[in-house]
């Protein structure tokens, strides 16, 4: 049975990573050529890892379900990427970023991993800049920084509101360079449907060719998952609609433990739901809260136009509740406060599920031009979608599912509990605890890809230099392929009457209502029952049109939704187990008299790590205790 050993190197925090690198085992260049790496996912972490492993001389096979690696959802990250350069001379350091992340994550992340994420952040910015990523610059030619996510230093590098796109394209260009060199082979329009484990080690994957439907076997000495998060479990989220967790779920079912599945960040500002066919909620960057003021009417169900509601009848509830931080409270606090007002009947718009984000005062004070310079592209985007001009009246926003801090459990080397299976980027649980700070997602993805996995994988592969090429004729491949064939046949065989999307929507609603921003025992127990019932209905009445041997987008969706039933339950089970409120996880039973989240360190200072025991069995919980050696555990207070 897999052991839970986080393999944290001994010694002072700031020396752990350099000590690890100096003492890890290496693979000599001649042997690297003989080692095959399977890498699934081509977002920022996947593309960065692929190019770096290719540079080192390994044989890398990269898989993505899109038509090209450049479309992975890292492309949509807006705000920026953090690094501790301290170019602004404002007192930043690795330790300070580490501390901000630990505190922001509400003391539910592993110190050593978080420190390393901060430590490699500078090299990441240097690498991206050298690759030609056009970050914003000052007139003197140096890189510009902005303050982001409510921290006290300016450490965020950015490329307008398209930082994710520029970072991903930088990594993609590095990946392309290795494709030209022949170290990386790219397999696009492929979806990983099964993991192959031989003698306890991850040795390959089964993919479906999304053009021909053919199932393909790919073998390697190791498998890396860079498959992103599972925010689409809510159906409506800020994620790309095809983002999914099927690869991670396959790994979980094969023995990789899942860490903190219930930690899901709800972003406070996205454009609210406008119609019943809505497929996606568009994010409005957090930076807007630097100048926009959030309010709802003081009167319940006030249907007047926002501009007709006089100043005295507006409730600037964030400024009222959190005078010190006001509109700049962290994401989880802002999201819950919006929900509280809307649930109490003060929400605006047709659905009552929205709050105003008003720039009137900022425009009056700074002028329209200044606001346009800062947020022009976001205002345009808002107007394109809603038809409303936010210079003339407030934007309407509402929280939506955004980022999953939870993911596959990994040790310090980013290896899961299956030897030889690694998870990087958002697909692992590693660096953000119970809540992620702004601009640290791109940072972690790029850092994992360029500087962490490229080192730690050598420690594993050094033990594989005598392992010959893995054959895809092994019985384990045979069985894995047969299992996938069986699942696909089963999906077609139902031949019911309801669309896959209709099930996904209903699952999303269950998750949003009972396991979203605010959770309680009764609701979570209801959710478990509803998920079971919906799953049963799915397998009796879902309709998957067409055949397997062609492009079949409904079949792709059906497989992903089928896996989501299992993950949804795991999320709820995790949320039920964690009786405290921390970070993005808010249990109504655990709050202060004024309605703030109440953490319970005595009972819950651990990572909840879940082991799969079968579809009909409860997963088994293990606890990775979180011992804070280097920071003092404090309460998060934004009042």
């Amino acid at each position: 049975m897999a052991k839970l050993d986080s393999k944290i190197p001994k010694g002072p925090l700031a020396e752990k990573w350099s000590k690890y690198k100096s003492t890890m085992k290496l693979v000599n260049p001649a042997n690297k050529k003989k080692l095959d790496i399977i890498l699934v996912g081509s977002g920022l972490s996947g593309s960065a890892a692929a190019s770096t492993l290719g540079e080192l001389g390994y044989n890398v096979k990269v898989f993505c379900f899109q038509d090209t690696p450049r479309r992975a959802h890292s492309v949509a990250a807006q705000g920026g990427i953090n690094a501790t350069k301290n170019y602004k001379n404002d007192g930043d350091s690795d330790y300070r970023l580490f501390y901000d992340m630990i505190k922001g994550g509400d003391y539910r992340a592993r110190e050593a991993n978080v420190y390393r994420a901060a430590e490699v952040s500078n090299a990441t910015i240097d690498q991206l800049t050298a690759q030609g990523v056009p970050f914003a610059r000052e007139y003197g030619g140096t890189l510009d920084n902005r303050s982001f996510g409510g921290v006290q230093v300016s450490r965020t590098f950015y490329a307008k509101g398209q930082t994710g796109q520029q970072c991903l394209l930088g990594a993609y260009s590095g990946l392309s360079r290795q494709i030209k060199k022949g170290t990386v082979t790219m397999y696009s329009r492929r979806e990983m449907l099964e993991l192959v484990v031989i003698d306890g080690k991850a040795r390959g994957i089964i993919t479906r060719n999304l053009v021909t439907g053919e199932l393909e076997r790919h073998a390697g000495h190791t498998v890396i998952l860079a498959t992103g998060g599972y925010g689409t479990i809510y159906y409506l989220s800020t994620l790309a609609v095809n983002s999914n967790a099927s690869a991670a779920w396959a790994a979980y079912k094969k023995g990789a433990f899942f860490g903190n599945p219930g930690f899901i960040q709800i972003h406070p500002s996205s454009i609210p739901v406008l119609n019943e066919y809505q497929a996606k909620l568009t994010l409005m960057s957090e930076s807007l809260r630097n100048d926009g003021r959030i309010w709802v009417p003081k009167k319940k169900e006030d249907k007047r136009h926002a501009n007709e509601i006089p100043e005295g009848e507006r409730d600037y509830y964030l400024e009222r509740r959190y005078p010190a931080f006001g509109n700049l409270v962290p994401r989880d606090v802002a999201s819950r406060a919006a929900k509280e007002r809307c649930d109490a009947g003060y929400g605006v718009g047709d659905t009552g599920l929205a709050v105003n984000l008003d720039f009137k005062d900022a425009i009056a004070k700074q002028g329209k031009k200044a606001i346009e310079d800062k947020y022009g592209n976001l205002f345009e985007m808002y107007e394109k979608i809603t038809g409303i001009n936010p210079y003339d009246e407030p934007m309407r926003i509402y929280p939506s599912g955004h980022y999953t801090m939870g993911g596959l459990w990994v040790d310090y080397e980013l290896m899961t509990t299956i030897p030889g299976l690694f998870a990087i980027g958002e697909s692992n649980f590693s660096d953000h605890g119970a809540n992620r700070l702004g601009a640290s997602s791109l940072m972690q993805c790029a850092g994992d890809g360029y500087f962490v996995i490229s080192n730690t994988i050598g420690n594993f592969l050094s033990g594989e230099i005598r392992t010959p090429k893995i054959s895809t004729d092994a019985p384990e491949f045979e069985k894995a392929e047969k299992d996938v064939t069986g699942k696909i046949k089963k999906l077609f065989a139902v031949n019911g009457k309801q669309t896959v999307t209709s099930f996904h929507k209903r699952l999303g609603k269950i998750m949003w209502d009972y396991s979203g921003m605010s959770r309680n025992e009764e609701g979570l127990k209801k959710a478990l029952k509803f998920i079971d019932e919906l799953k049963e209905e799915f397998w009796k009445d879902v309709k998957v049109p067409g055949t397997n041997n062609e492009i079949n987008q409904e079949l792709e969706k059906a497989g992903r939704v089928a896996d989501y039933f299992g993950l949804a339950k795991l999320i709820v089970i995790d949320a039920l187990n964690r009786g405290e409120s921390c970070g993005a996880h808010f249990r109504e039973e655990s709050q202060t008299p004024t309605g703030e989240a109440k953490r319970d360190d005595a009972n819950y200072s651990y990572v909840s790590v879940w082991e799969y025991k079968g579809d009909e069995q409860e997963p088994q919980l293990r606890k990775e205790a979180l011992n804070y050696e280097f920071v003092e555990v404090k309460e998060r207070d934004y009042k």
Partner: protein, 246 residues
């Protein structure tokens, strides 16, 4: 609203395609264009028909998946917007909308409205990068970059690789796409080191893959959802000429 649709249906790359007419009721002006297609597909599946295949992912105008020709224009009537950013309020009750895939020999149709844009990846792999290994880069501020140049490079770099430029061009030229990448690197000091080889190998690959030449119609610029300007093409031509005589 009621919308009449005329959509290109094609079983696979080898099959012969044809237009099929559909009628869709209860279209709300709030719907995005793709949500309208979702509604159509929902109806088709329930009625036992095959849904229309189209490519989409981020649905916020940045991934570049969208590849629909709407009423004869790539990405439809919106200005500087992708198909997914288009909303039904741009159309009127009773309108007929014609939807086709990108029309270009370089982008063969794979099914219905999905085309193969793999040629773009091949052009990037031919030289659309700076050869720098992870770990060997110097401090980011060691080389100062003029802000205006950096901003210009950013605008060129904001290309989403959707291929509307190729689809709009009567010559199926990929010059706007290629020149945007060439320009991004040509404008930055980091990119100058390999500038000569880069422009030659990317242009050679573009020609090899069967993209046409530029005859200055500027249809590409007109349909580009990111507003990439044809001055990039002029810059690439200059770079190419300089490379040839260097």
């Amino acid at each position: 609203m009621n919308i009449k649709l005329k959509i290109w249906r094609q079983k696979n790359a080898k099959a012969k395609g044809k237009f099929v007419n559909y009628n869709l009721d209860n279209v709300s002006p709030e719907m995005s264009f793709l949500e309208m297609l979702d509604a159509l597909n929902n109806k088709l599946i329930i009625e036992g028909d095959e849904p229309v295949a189209f490519e989409h992912d981020c649905r916020e105008g940045i991934c570049g998946c969208c590849s629909l020709y709407i009423n004869g224009t790539p990405h439809g009537p919106g200005e500087k917007s992708t198909t997914c950013e288009l909303h039904m309020r741009s159309f009127k009750d009773g309108h007929t909308i014609v939807i086709e895939p990108w029309r270009s020999r370089a982008f063969p149709v794979m099914k219905d409205l999905i085309v193969d844009r793999n040629a773009f990846d091949k052009i990037i792999a031919a030289g659309g990068f700076i050869s720098i290994d992870a770990g060997s880069s110097q401090d980011s501020n060691a080389v100062l970059v003029n802000k205006e140049k950096a901003d210009e490079a950013f605008i060129s770099a904001s290309c989403i690789g959707c291929g509307a430029c190729v689809a709009a061009c009567k010559n199926a030229s990929a010059m706007l796409f290629v020149s945007a990448k060439v320009s991004q690197f040509a404008l930055l000091p980091q990119g100058r080191v390999e500038a000569v080889e880069r422009v030659q190998s990317m242009v050679a690959k573009m020609d090899e893959l069967g993209f046409g030449n530029c005859t200055n119609t500027y249809a590409c610029e007109a349909v580009c959802p990111k507003g990439i300007s044809v001055t990039n093409i002029a810059r690439m031509n200059r770079e190419f000429l300089a490379a040839k005589i260097s």
